[in-house]
Point group: D2
Chain length 449, copies 4
């Protein structure tokens, strides 16, 4: 059993951190320590207690030592791996991100990636990420750093801008969802009833949440022509992998995905809610338009309620009223950690700066691509190139995020506004753009001090 | 006097061709023949007669031989220079280009460059340009080819795609207009009352009608800081170089130009009507919005009336009722021809494929840039690079025009629609986009036979 | 057991083909047919017989069907995999390649990759490879094509130039040798006595036989600093992995490798004999200089003798005088075939056109790089970039081989001579270069008919 | 008359400075001050006196104020133009540069550009250039800086590395010499007896002293086919523009130029002595080989004698024993200065960092190219691209000079040796290379303090 040392920033997390605890408890070849740091120290202490319960849960094969610590330096010192999952600001801040723009006719289905919401979230998060990078230089410059927070592209880029030598990458499960859809398709058309996500191999291009698949296979079966038929057959009425999309804020009828395939011939590899935000004129003109495309705009109210439920569940677990149960989380961070620790080789999708293997995208821009994970680190594969019509849609965001991240690192409000006014979702004249910006940025400005 | 041989395609033109006749009559170092070819042979014959009158006009120093010919091959055979100015289709076709999209809430101030109108115009013109290029290979592969028609970028690109060795370039006077504005500014602020357009040196970047100036000087005075003050001072109320913009379809208050400068710090170097079409969400949401920005949408009705007036004027000239009068046209095509014929060196802006000197734009894409004109041909200068935020706006059009031109050359309706649906002006879902496309394309389809 | 269909061009081979037979017999998850085609049909028939004996050898777990065929089309039709290992010309031709240049003071340690010898060999082989590519288009365009013949880079490039959609790659074991050296080092310095080549992970850059390693690890141990000490310690006296280099034409004291490491800080990953040919001024001025660097020039006479021994051994096997014995060949072609057939994922080094992942080398040039082998095909990893001083040494060969391959495909003797005169090994004035060229090319000219 | 302010570093120069004085006295549209700074203050004072005599010479139309100053800061303060022409070290140092390598069989015809000599000269000059750049930042960051010293490429590059915003360029007359050869050719073949260098237009590519012309015209006559015949006709016996090459250290029979044209089809545009140093295996193996190619190796002894003659002549002028006589120097620096001061536009060749217009050469590397000189500054033209076989020869030097300049700026002796050992002229094993380096570098080391 290889002994490793993990620092978890945002260690009070009730989502990503719990998945990690679960998956570590199930991994037989690793053991070690996880130090939890959170600005909400109490949440970290709750997670220390719950984390230490995971090793005792039925089915656990590995018992980790969880420890809430009082400073980020204490968490990082000596770490082999640093995991980051934070909420930039509060859900009230996110309320402003998502719902203020609606007054100007701008609708966002998620509001955490691009658009006015994603940009404000970036503005709030970058100062923290800047600090993380500096602390990593000081305490554990050789550690692998895994970012789980959105906006994934911008925040991973910020880490690299502050510390170009950082060994960071962003992990996101949206591509898994698309592989799951492809497996469901194989069942639906009677080709392989037992195919699972892991049996589907895909080549990944683009950026996080606007990710694309140009090759997909199951064993030696090419899935692209099968998907063509599938997309055409289900385009009108939608195809929902989990029963019905209506009523869920995360499901969809995949009509956006099918429309994009019919336009361009490539599989868009993220949830429809995310994809729609990159093509607002097509899917997000009004909430009704979104419904016609069979996806929902997630209200921040729901997130607030969900948070309370998660807190209550934590309390029940601590009080012994609910057992810790090990599940199949579907995440692969622990498998990647194992490979990076020198045990095995795995190919998975990841968000890292383009080193030339994603042609058509500037060198250094953070892209989503497959990579080989092994003792030699994270080595992206040659992703190839997007078709021209998609490439320009991606580039538009790549360029704007570059301006955005630089503006945040320099605390340059004028440049931030320039990025804001250039965002595809901000279809406003300069006057209205300025008014919306002023209203939204006031909840972010304190983060820039 | 150097004797040269010119072929004029679209030789019945009442605008560009007349300017050329005027300027040739005023050029003392050149003489020769101009062969006029036009699908409207009668118009070419009228121009033959009028052309031959120019050499006799008061002030003329050079007498050229104009000759209407019956085939394009006859026009091209042995030509040193080929000039092209054609109207792709009729003004009724253009009516469809400009006004049909309005039913879907898409407003175009000109409708001949980008947007649904520009694309349809391209679809109609490319087959003709393809034929021109093939005939040039056959009859005069070494001739310099000057294109005056819009869409300038797409049509010049089409010539190069058919005949990569063609010595073609596009000439447009929009940058001259901006240099004129800078000269007016110098007068306005009391620095140089007698500065003229020709005294203003500028560096030119971008593409036709979405052209940018990042350096401008008058003698050794840097004009950028002066323009900054000027733009700020006149942003609210506009500044019209020719009195009032209202009532003219070609003038403007330059508010779009000032807004773009305030956003990006570079001088946009085309008329506001053209610029607005590249940023539709900002200036072209409604006709009222356009008026607030102090420019007009040119109705095609006006073009039809103007055409009749020009025809009547031609008749009067032919009938001796109106003398031919030599004027200062402000065009520089004849000066460029003189340099290319081996007499002198001149630097001017031009539309040619990027050979690497315009960094950030793909090699081979047609850009607008300064070039050295001399016996060695047209050699573009190193234009440098646009700032990132403008570059991506330009790239979006560069990419889309590439798809557009390829689609037209391949007569690929599906690819044409893909370009159409990707155009920034087409802010429609796929269903509406398809409906509009079908309505518009039916007047173009015959051109593809 | 997955059933696959292999075509072997050069199927009379007594080296590569026998290794393949050996490894197929040891692979439990594959079975199928191997069709052997060779211009020496008798040799192919001998291999058919011997091949069919392999499945019966002690330890064999898979029984393949070998069949000598009379035409290349018959071999290729329906193939899933095409393997190519041919000798371009005869050993007498090779005698000319290697030994004629010695009269002009040009010494080659191998003479099959670069230099006058490598170029002439290319000139002889390209017409055959051109024909192979055309036949593959006709008979099995979707097959994976594995090239084993030298010059690896030029011949793989030729396949792609004729058929850009070919799924071809070149396999070479020289990098394995360097990984073996690293494993031996670990034993030598007492860190891991049982480390084998397969435990050593490396990142691979450059081109075949002038390949470079910039990262190497064993589990989580970084091997670069260890190699630095090792190279310094053994630089003067050499370090021979197999006892003594003297007397062997394939072994060496690794002094070239150590010298290159001390110059540039990267591990050169090919045998010293090959490396030396890329830096002739340093290691190959005279045979004595080569000996001082502890490697030998392989005389073609040796190859002729070796060939006879192999033929005699074949006869003994056929006659039952020598049993077929399964060994560990150290090759990995069969493992790669298995992955490509959809069973597993493997990362290995390979020669393929650069798709952008090897920065600093032109897109499309054949490079040696790691790649992921799986049902999704051969996907190169992002190799990164060579340090500037090495990159230019590599580029010089990349550029020259481009001219070389084009010249051969166009049967353009003038361009071939230009490449010849530009080769680093040809340190001659134009007169001598021409004389040598004429003498050497006369044995190649018949191949161009 | 435009009043300008010039700082001259190396103001004691008896060659470049005198040419400048001559040309300024003949320029009717400029007047002003020239401040002369030199480490040899006495030489600067002599030049002050002689300079002030030029304005009074017969034919002078402009009277400049020359002033020797005691510090570089005093010279630079307020300068519009900075001119630099220095000798890095002494002629004794240059003796070591040129003649020490001969002991190792390395022959250099000039020894001031590339090869062991050029590199050592760079090592001595870079610290001074670094200081110049820093002083320019301090005293006149907006001044145009013209470098006349060799190695032109490396020293111009050094200025940009220290001060990326510097407006510097290198001026060299070697291309003029080639244009003069082309004019002589026109006379020789009876096409234009009166053609002068200025009538020959050329497109310029490559780097200083290894410069290439791919297009050349006289009026509308293409000179490339004429040169092909010319080169073939004179290849065997040479063609010397100034009578006989033998006995002159600057003339040649142009056989190297003809050989390069016959190899590659482009006109090499520098003196044969310079060209030969870039292709040492072909022309410089021995002094006899050089003579066969009809050029001489310039002994440093000659330079020492020449220096004394120039000093004596200065003394005679000062003493009134020899009048100042205005001549046609053939240099164009003063014409360029005039354009940059806002008066006129000129196209000339220049050495500046590549901004993308010289495709195939890395962005930022100093190249020789045509540029437009005007009030807008120095704007290089799109040079296009060298053919592959020449490009790689150029690249080899571009890469090595990059290592060289960085090594000198970092005072990194190890990196300097790496560049030294990589130079095409240094065809030595590592041991000899090191020995030669140690011997040569000892005269340079003091410059690095």
């Amino acid at each position: 059993m290889k002994n490793i040392d993990i620092a978890y920033i945002g260690g009070g997390s009730r989502a990503w951190a719990r998945n990690l605890m679960n998956d570590l408890a199930l991994e037989e070849d690793l053991c070690g320590t996880v130090r939890l740091y959170d600005t909400d120290r109490q949440a970290a202490q709750v997670n220390e207690k719950i984390g230490n319960m995971y090793g005792k849960a039925p089915g656990a094969v590995s018992d980790w030592n969880y420890k809430a610590v009082g400073s980020i330096g204490e968490a990082l010192q000596g770490a082999d791996f640093v995991l980051i999952s934070i909420l930039p600001g509060t859900f009230d801040d996110m309320d402003s991100d998502v719902h203020l723009p609606e007054k100007f006719g701008i609708y966002q289905s998620v509001g955490d990636t691009v658009g006015p919401g994603g940009m404000m979230r970036t503005a709030r998060a970058v100062p923290a990420y800047e600090m993380f990078a500096r602390k990593i230089i000081e305490h554990c410059p050789d550690a692998f750093v895994i970012n789980f927070s959105n906006p994934m592209t911008a925040l991973t880029a910020a880490l690299y801008k502050v510390f170009p030598g950082i060994k960071a990458f962003g992990c996101c499960h949206e591509v898994f969802g698309t592989r799951r859809l492809l497996a469901a398709m194989l069942k639906d058309i009677g080709i392989a009833g037992d195919a699972s996500r892991d049996d589907i191999e895909v080549n990944v291009l683009g950026i996080n949440h606007f990710t694309w698949i140009d090759r997909a296979c199951y064993k030696d079966i090419d899935l692209i022509p099968l998907y063509r038929d599938f997309a055409n057959r289900h385009f009108e009425n939608g195809y929902c992998i989990d029963g019905t999309w209506d009523g869920s804020f995360f499901s969809s009828g995949n009509r956006v995905k099918f429309d994009l395939f019919r336009r361009y011939g490539l599989i868009a590899a993220a949830g429809d809610r995310h994809l729609a935000e990159f093509c607002p004129g097509w899917y997000l003109k009004t909430p009704e338009e979104a419904r016609r495309w069979q996806f929902s705009l997630t209200p921040v109210e729901w997130r607030k309620r969900d948070r309370i439920e998660r807190m209550e569940r934590s309390m029940r677990i601590l009080a012994g009223g609910e057992p810790v149960r090990l599940i199949d989380t579907g995440e692969d961070a622990v498998s990647l950690i194992k490979c990076l620790a020198g045990d095995g080789t795995l190919v998975s999708n990841v968000n890292v700066p383009n080193d030339g293997g994603h042609r058509g995208i500037p060198i250094g821009a953070v892209v989503e691509t497959n990579a080989v994970f092994s003792g030699d680190g994270v080595v992206p594969v040659d992703a190839g190139r997007l078709p021209r019509d998609i490439e320009i849609l991606v580039l538009r965001n790549v360029y704007n995020q570059e301006t955005l991240v630089e503006a945040c690192l320099e605390r340059n409000e004028e440049a931030l506004f320039r990025a804001f006014a250039n965002d595809p979702l901000v279809h406003l004249g300069i006057g209205d753009a300025k008014r919306l910006f002023e209203m939204m940025f006031c909840v972010c400005r304190p983060f820039w001090d």
